[in-house]
Symmetry: C2
Subunit: 173 residues, 2 copies
């Protein structure tokens, strides 16, 4: 799929077919995620593939907006490793860039996905750390729930002139 088409037609997909996602396709999507830029090329990310139903049920119980995980073939949890940072505090940006690559790669492969937020909601961070036995220095950023789409969502254009400024904040004139 062409880049601009992928960007303009991708939407959050929350309903999935009962059909597995092949391992080689998951790897292709992860490889795309890992090509993201990161601060000082620190590549602070880790990826946890979630297919186990017990883990899915636990996730459902600790996050208010991730109920669909139990009906999805998989989730991919993106975590940041703060010990890898060369400049402190940038890991959420690194992991968000990786997440966006991942979502685009899924969409261009015919999959549907949705980014559900964890960090910086402290309670969610702690619960996900518990569920996945994450060490102290590994922080869960967000979970992409993914599968073959069982819904289609219209992708309206979002361009808004009012959000574009030239050389200074226009509201200050």
């Amino acid at each position: 799929m062409e880049l601009f088409e992928a960007i303009h037609t991708r939407r959050s997909i929350r309903q999935y077919q009962e059909k597995e996602v092949p391992a080689d396709l998951i790897k292709k999507i992860l490889a795309a995620a890992m090509m993201a830029p990161s601060t000082a090329d620190a590549r602070t990310w880790h990826f946890i593939i979630v297919t186990d139903i017990d883990k899915k049920n636990k996730i459902k119980n600790v996050h208010p907006y991730v109920g669909m995980i139990t009906k999805a073939p998989l989730g991919i949890l993106i975590c940041g490793d703060i010990t890898k940072e060369k400049f402190q505090g940038f890991w959420p940006q690194d992991c968000s860039a990786a997440m966006q690559n991942l979502l685009l790669a899924a969409h261009a492969s015919g999959l549907g996905a949705v980014w559900t937020g964890i960090y910086p909601v402290e309670e969610r961070v702690l619960k996900f750390k518990e569920i996945f036995n994450l060490p102290e220095h590994i922080i869960p950023l967000g979970l992409a729930v993914m599968g073959w789409p069982a819904q289609s969502v219209r992708a309206d254009e979002r361009y808004t002139d009012n959000l574009v400024h030239y050389n200074t904040w226009k509201g200050t004139k």
Copy 2:
């Protein structure tokens, strides 16, 4: 350009030709950025197009890694509007997803760009707020410096098996 090709061949470009970037192409790239997902669809982003040489010089003086801005046709500063957040603290993730779309869109258009970090380095945030007259609730996240590339950078693959885990953190076994 095909999505996976764009993702796998994009690299940070810091040297540019002395050649303008047409306004309609800038708009196309901004439209791609604004198609990013955002937490509860809050679209917390703003974009400041920087072409003015005085602004570029000021930026160069306050950021250690952005000297190339004075030789680039433009920069695009992405800022978050914290008053638009439906869930507090997620705006850097929204703006990072928009930044990643922007970088991919630039690359697929034949441009080169590099994401330079501002937030959460407090001193940089304050200086950029001053330079661009940003109100209290608008926080600069990062600056994309952009132009027609005058260098080519080889895009090595970054996939690493060791960063992939299945259903639990593998280090805890």
